[in-house]
């Protein structure tokens, strides 16, 4: 009788212990899930930010090539070089992009005037490579500088432009 009672008590104790362990495990699983949810919510934002930074880097790479860059200044495009490059069709595929357009952003003008040797610098858009269909643009700000003179002294006049680099849209099947 006493042995049986002791056995039941032991069973009860084991049951109690297993329930306790189960609840502790469940609790830690919930905490872990909570932690994962918090971490992944930041991950999505990190991904978007990362993609944008990558696009900015591609534009910087294009802007910083010696063919466009003004006197080793980062994110600066020489407008005088641009107008010379624009008339040379060999440079259309030089940057391996699907389209390359540089638009003056500030001072702002509502009217789009494509630049050519005849109207330069009274224009606001340089289309180096016309974007084809199914392309997506990434844009970034750069300085657009040209040589000017005032009172017989030469100086660099820098404005703000937007570089649009077009790449093919990847179609999901």
């Amino acid at each position: 009788m006493d042995k049986r009672k002791k056995g039941r008590k032991a069973q009860f104790k084991i049951q109690e212990m297993s329930f306790m362990l189960l609840f502790i495990i469940l609790f830690f699983v919930l905490v872990f899930l909570f932690f994962i949810v918090i971490m992944t919510s930041g991950l999505k934002q990190d991904f978007v930010e990362g993609e944008r930074e990558q696009a900015q880097m591609l534009i910087s790479r294009v802007a910083d090539t010696p063919e466009l860059n003004c006197q080793n200044t980062m994110s600066c495009i020489d407008a005088d070089k641009l107008i010379a490059l624009k008339s040379n069709k060999n440079y259309e595929n030089f940057w391996h992009v699907e389209g390359l357009v540089i638009e003056k952003f500030y001072p702002f003008s509502n009217r789009t005037v494509e630049c050519n040797p005849g109207n330069y610098p009274n224009c606001n858009t340089f289309t180096i490579k016309k974007p084809s269909n199914n392309t997506l643009a990434d844009a970034s700000f750069v300085s657009l500088c040209r040589k000017e003179s005032y009172n017989g002294y030469g100086y660099d006049k820098c404005e703000i432009a937007k570089v649009r680099v077009y790449s093919l849209v990847e179609v999901e099947e």
Partner: protein, 181 residues
Amino acid sequence: MLKIRDKKSQSEIIGLIIIIVLVLVAGVVFLGIYLRGDSGVLREDAEMKNFLTTSSKYTSSCYRTEETKFKTLGELIGDCYSLRLCSDGKSSCQVLQDTYGTMLKTLKESNSFGLVNYYKLGFYFSQNISDLTQRTPISGLKDIEEGVRGKNCGVQKTASNSISMGSEGDVIVELAICKDE
């Protein structure tokens, strides 16, 4: 017999309390680490930072005869801090403020950063760039702001650009925007 049973239950209660305390400590440590990681500081927006850097190289209308050059906005910040005038008698601070004012209006109207409800551009001086809590607003340069900053800002983004003033310290130009989600 009763005494032994009491002692046993007491030790079980102590065990449970220890587990609860451990879990609580772990929770507090985790929350501490998580909150310290962000600490309410907004992440810098790469595109906005790029705009600020580019705008500092913009050639302003402020000409200085003794230097025979038009000053960039970045240089004008230094001139404004030293209260220098342009050759036409205009204050460097005024030219700086007017140029950034129209520039930011253009930026808002072009929707370059999405639908911006509110923006604010501030100029601060800091002797130690690594400790931005010590920064002070530059006298003579007001914040440039437009729009209404409601209780719900939507998406808030900031970026800053520092311009060195040599041994004196740095000027920090900070742009903050609120835009629709």
